[in-house]
Amino acid sequence: MVGSLVFDFFVFPGLLFTLAVGILASWVVRKVSALIQWRVGPPLLQPAYDIAKLFGKENIIPEGGAEWSYLIAPLLGPAGLLLASIILIKSNYLGTSFIGDVIVVLYLLVLPALSVILGGMATGNSLSAMGSNRELRLMIAYELPLLLSITAAIVKAGGLKLATFTGQPVAASISGALGFIAALLCIQAELGFIPFDTPEAETELMGGPLIEYSGPLLGLYKISHLMALLVLPLFLVTVFLGGFSTGWGALWGAIKYVLVLVGIILIKNTNPRLRSDQALKFFWYGAAPLGLLALILAVVGDLIGMGWV
């Protein structure tokens, strides 16, 4: 029992697997971006080298910062994403699911953003405080449409268990498709990709909340980002696109995951960075009504018994 738990947490579908796929996904992001931009792009293992390099470097704790939160904050992100990844993957291929695990995953997915905010606030640097402030604003912006669209999917699928979504592509209906679009935009912001990378904006804030971080602690943030590259698109695939199962289903699931990832990369490379206030307006006045519409359609479709609405 303990052995299988350790295996679950540290090997598959836990730390090792999530990291390995995250590194692969990060390479895909960089390679596809490079191809769009007429560049060559990095070799396959470059993201792994980057992480390994950071873990060989020195940790510098800034003077005047809040030492404990500075040290603990980077751990929150990977921890949350690790749990989310285990719940998501196991529910998909084993069907082990419990009531309300969608809600649990939603809560766990807030942790990376919180860890960035906490870490940025703890450094005592004005630029990183500004970045944390922007991250907080961005979170307030995208959480609402994300929750609305996920709720629409829950209504559509008819259950609070992740296992109910498997094999049931919610996006194959009007409300599901609208919800998927809204959720995809939220995921873009949650990943901190352009056009929603205001918190880190290197040409404005030079990395924002992460500006004072170095060595293994910065490496933890990078790991958190790598894992998010697997977990967030996978969450979308599970909730909206029918997830994946074992055998050929796993391959089909992987294809869906890569398609979502490529969609995210395309949005990333064909837009400039939005300002914080513009991002807020975009999510509240653009994405949130879309999510609300999806929810209303899903409820109406459920009431009148038409599955395609």
């Binding site: 004005s126 040409t203 960075r273």
Partner: protein, 399 residues
Amino acid sequence: MATTIPIGPYHPLQEEPEHYLLTVEEEEVIDVDVQIGYNHRGIEKLSEEKTFNQVPFLVERVCGICSHSHPYAYCLAVEDCGDIEVPERAKYIRTLIGELERIHSHLLWAGLAGHFIGYDTVFMWAWKYREDVLDLLELLTGNRNAYAMMKPGGVQREIKREDLEGARPTLQTLKEKSEMLYNAILDDPVLKARLEGVGVLPEEDARAFGALGPTSRASGIPADARADFPYGMYEELDWQVITREAGDTLARVEVRLLETLESIKMTEQIIDEMPDEGSIDSEPENVPAGEGIGNYEAPRGECFHYVQSDGSNRPVRHKIRAPTFMNFPTYKSTCVGETVADATIILASVDPCYSCTERAISLKGREDVDLLELSEKKTADLKEELGVNKSPLEEVLDE
């Protein structure tokens, strides 16, 4: 509570050390200060130690992007001082290089501006097209930057007809690509949201601060040294001064991109009209005592040189004023009241001229290779690629 946000002297926004101090309240900029002087190299003093014919090579190194502008302005100043005539063909060659330089500089800026607002795809694409211009410059002058073409009274080297004809196809593709870039940038709703109405420089402020070049033209002031103090062949060419009334960042982008198209048009005219025969150098004997000024429209605005001569073979005093010197102060008008997110693109939108752009070549383990030979070979390869005939010198080199 007001906080100070330092941008520079080392910052991803900048290629060269410069220090902007933004005083902000929350995210709003309430004051801006600029500290410069990290790049002082004593060029004006050095210039007094060189002969009149050596100075162009020195001032070429003031800036890597405007490496034709400074020598040109200096030559205009010396020619003004000594009443030196310049042969027509030399004027054509000077104007041709000047316009090609404007194209490459504006494309470079468009790419950087894209990078500053996080649009790296525009950055990479604009620089890819800029590479073609650099190839053209190498084809025509032998160098990608620092063309070493200028001398008082003319130009250093010929440009052959076949090289000029070889430039045509590249110019044609360049025109298509620039138009595509112009449409892509102006049609993008997200870009519009980021640039429109941001960093507005009203016309009266532009006049008060003495803004120059595209910065002033985007605020509705048709100030252009090419039209105001005609030099080179600009009076003969068919072109117009591009102006926009809005004065915001989008207008500055628009002016630069339209000027790129205008420069391509001028370059094609020059290729059509340039005579194949004739002197390229009036070979002035000496520069009499006196003083002269040169106003040259560099890509960033009017570049001004003052040269004083006492009748010897060296300038007694040589004063340089780069356009950015006049464009910096407009930050007081454009940045204040905007957010930090917008301040960075506003700071970049006057295209501050960093004395930069160095071309490096790695020869690790190839110490036996002669750089000059390598450079000549690369030019020859380029000509072959563009389908231009080889010169007798290159034929000898090949053997």
